[in-house]
Symmetry: C2
Subunit: 210 residues, 2 copies
């Protein structure tokens, strides 16, 4: 009787097995290194078995990303308690870059790979649960609040433009690190130093000076 429930549980278990094996490959070596055959070998199933649990490779990897991005959302949780919106923005920026440095392959897939036109159909987490979207919304709220407090320089009134400038700034640090840090023709400063320099520059560039 309860057997259907058990079978369902078993199916979810192998689904998790696939996800875990794929996550290992992905986190260590990136999207290209994740192959259906390699995942299958690791969990001792045939490659086609994976298709019983995921529609295709892209869906599988994106689900991994979506799950792991909850770590970013989690990092935002304590930040939400901070009262000063400007401090909050700074903490968001720092947490954002830290996430990118800790999960470069996740970051690359989510923010450095062009979206193919026409895949706005979202995964199981649904449109409004997308952590990346949430992060933008979270930043935007802080910006709107700081704007209301008159914290930005005169002339800066568009919250989206401010958000996009902030985002571009921290994304630049993160993305340059992910893609270019092993280039030897630049005498790279340490990532934390670059993060600090960027945040200070953005803030003294955007904020009304005391």
């Amino acid at each position: 009787m309860g057997s259907v429930a058990r079978r369902e549980r078993e199916k979810q278990a192998t689904r998790e097995l696939i996800l875990d094996a794929a996550r290992d490959l992905f986190a260590r070596d990136g999207y290209e290194a994740v192959t259906m055959r390699r995942i299958a070998e690791q969990i001792e199933y045939s490659p086609t078995a994976i298709y019983l649990h995921f529609t295709d490779k892209d869906a599988l990897v994106r689900e991994i990303c979506a799950v792991d991005f909850l770590a970013l959302a989690h990092a935002f949780q304590p930040i939400a308690l901070e009262r000063d919106p400007v401090v909050r923005i700074k903490q968001i920026g720092r947490a954002y870059i830290e996430f990118a440095l800790a999960h470069p392959n996740h970051y690359r897939l989510m923010f450095m790979t062009p979206r193919l036109p026409g895949q706005e159909d979202m995964n199981d987490y649904g449109r409004k649960g997308d952590p990346a979207e949430d992060a933008y919304a979270f930043l935007r709220m802080a910006v709107v609040e700081a704007l209301a407090q008159g914290r930005f320089r005169a002339g800066l009134t568009d919250p989206d433009l401010i958000c996009q400038t902030l985002w571009a700034g921290v994304h630049g640090v993160a993305a340059l690190h992910v893609a270019m840090s092993s280039d030897t023709w630049v005498d790279w400063r340490r990532p934390e130093q670059r993060t600090d320099a960027m945040l200070e520059t953005l803030f003294s560039g955007l904020l009304r000076q005391d």
Copy 2:
């Protein structure tokens, strides 16, 4: 007698044929869309013929990029005439983003794709001729000059850190556009507007205020 020279010329001609066909594919649809078989079909050669002119696909595409990046170096030429190093920096930033927007696939390959470890062997253009490297050196010279003129804020003394902050800023605008501009959950401002906002932010953040 002069036949060896003619043969050499003919070989260079088919080499150019390959480069042009590959460039079309690459510029329109990006790295993945460039396949040896597709190039071959277009120029009516067999796929293996390409290997007589290029060691592998990566070498071929990187040569395309290196060549087209000369356009960026070219855009820097008039900028070099500008006397004020701060103005020069601003013009470099603007030209840089304009290049990225005009050649998104080139930009993606050169600056948004992680370098595989151990390919520091450079192409025919040689180590010092790499336009990307030249661009950084060009920026750095302007920064050093501005630094000598005391144009940066107190506390900003490291030319490389300043360069990397500037680079990250403009890279952020460019990279976010290339990878994320078709995402609909952000109310994107126009790229030129984002460029202006970023440059103004960076400059008022970095420069000593008059």
